[in-house]
Symmetry: C2
Subunit: 257 residues, 2 copies
């Protein structure tokens, strides 16, 4: 199990590293790219964390937990249901979630497990899928929920979830992470709002990678956001939202109105 | 008016250039990146054309022509309705459109005008939008149409349009192109199936760039596919589809089953 981060140092330089206790061993690239150690170790406390990868795309799942499907009375899907969040939506730990100027409606958090792809992946058989997963991270799949149904003929999933800063990812990528035993916990201004077990997933990470890779090529650093479960709610301007998964860490962002 | 291409030479090298008669003046990067001429000129005939840019994302519009909106009895939208096609869906001139293994249903062509972004674009005012457009290209926004409605609760626009090779772009990017006077013509195995005027657009390219840039940052090389109009239809395996816009060129692809 390794914990990889991307960071910015005090002088503005961007680096990559592995956490070792209260220090970070610096590498010359992201963990999935076969990087070499630079030889430097840095105190963890002085680093500003960035999103731990820079996905070319985020594949975001809808209706992927049994408990939420039951509550919404949706049938279990036969294939992962997804939309694409563009790279431009990326935000890292500590970054503001910025309300779009054109939109005064509800903006909701969705705490999720994120799968980080390690190797180019096309048509991966189920048994091969795990080898394409570099590790796991935490995602807040932010959504301008009233945008979705604004037009009567076309549900605007990509727009509602694709605004700049609506793809919060971090704080780290953990390899060989046992997602089966983990829970996603979301706190809004310190109050717990989501607390659900990943064992309730409809499509496991391996199934997601295998099935989605039949549709589209997944690239190193791409992220699959596994979908959310019960407890989604809206964030007021100024609110602080924390999504955490034990063993990965806590992703904290705030709403900027 | 300049015509920019991306190409592969006989020895496999990838290059960029401007068409000058039957020759191509080579540059050291894409036209929107302020490239320098390499000094070489190449005979146009020997070059294999590639997609003229490599978009990080394709923003694909739905319901953006008055004639099609009338036919489908859809109201004119208040804001561009779009989905995201990922970079992994890109195909260039001459490339096959590959039927997904998992799908035996209808695959349809949608001939479209493509806007190629030249400069990073966020919150562009309508009057500023034109300055962010590098030029125009031709798009075939290929769609596995039966995927869209496969799940009763979630229309799968991104999946239906996001398969590898479903984002055909080319053959060139033309700057200072007068789209107002142009028509999109699609021929399937030589028979004309679409022939519609771009003057029928609901949101003009400048309006699209301005409004979409309020939602998400557009990057150099990103493409906005302006939506299609009347005459969409399905392509059998082996079919040859040509989308052309006078003044830009013809984008030819074939269906591979």
């Amino acid at each position: 199990m390794q914990t990889w981060i991307r960071f910015q140092t005090g002088d503005g330089a961007i680096g990559f590293g592995r956490i070792e206790g209260d220090r970070v061993a610096e590498y010359d690239g992201p963990g999935f790219a076969g990087p070499q150690p630079t030889g430097a170790t840095l105190p963890r406390a002085g680093l500003r964390l960035l999103s731990p990868c820079e996905p070319g795309k985020v594949v975001a799942l809808w209706n992927n937990f049994h408990a939420l499907a039951r509550k919404l009375e949706k049938p279990v899907p036969r294939h992962p249901l997804f939309l694409i969040k563009p790279a431009s939506s990326l935000a890292g730990p500590g970054d503001p979630i910025v309300r779009p100027r054109s939109y005064a409606g509800k903006i909701v958090y969705e705490g999720e497990l994120g799968i980080v792809i390690g190797r180019r992946c096309r048509d991966a058989a189920p048994a091969e899928a795990a080898a394409h997963i570099f590790g796991y991270t935490v995602v807040n799949d932010v959504t301008a929920s009233e945008v979705i149904g604004e037009d009567p003929g076309f549900p605007q999933w990509c727009r509602a979830k694709g605004f700049d800063t609506f793809g919060c990812i971090g704080p780290a990528i953990v390899t060989a992470f046992d997602w089966r035993a983990a829970r996603v916990v979301t706190r809004l201004d310190g109050t717990e709002r989501q607390n659900y077990p990943l064992s309730d997933l409809i499509f496991s990470p391996e199934q997601q990678v295998s099935l989605i890779s039949q549709d589209l090529t997944l690239m190193p650093g791409d992220v699959i956001a596994c979908g959310t479960s019960l407890g989604v709610g809206s964030m007021k301007d100024g609110a602080v939202v924390e999504v955490s998964i034990d063993g990965i860490g806590a992703l904290v962002n705030h709403m900027r109105g």
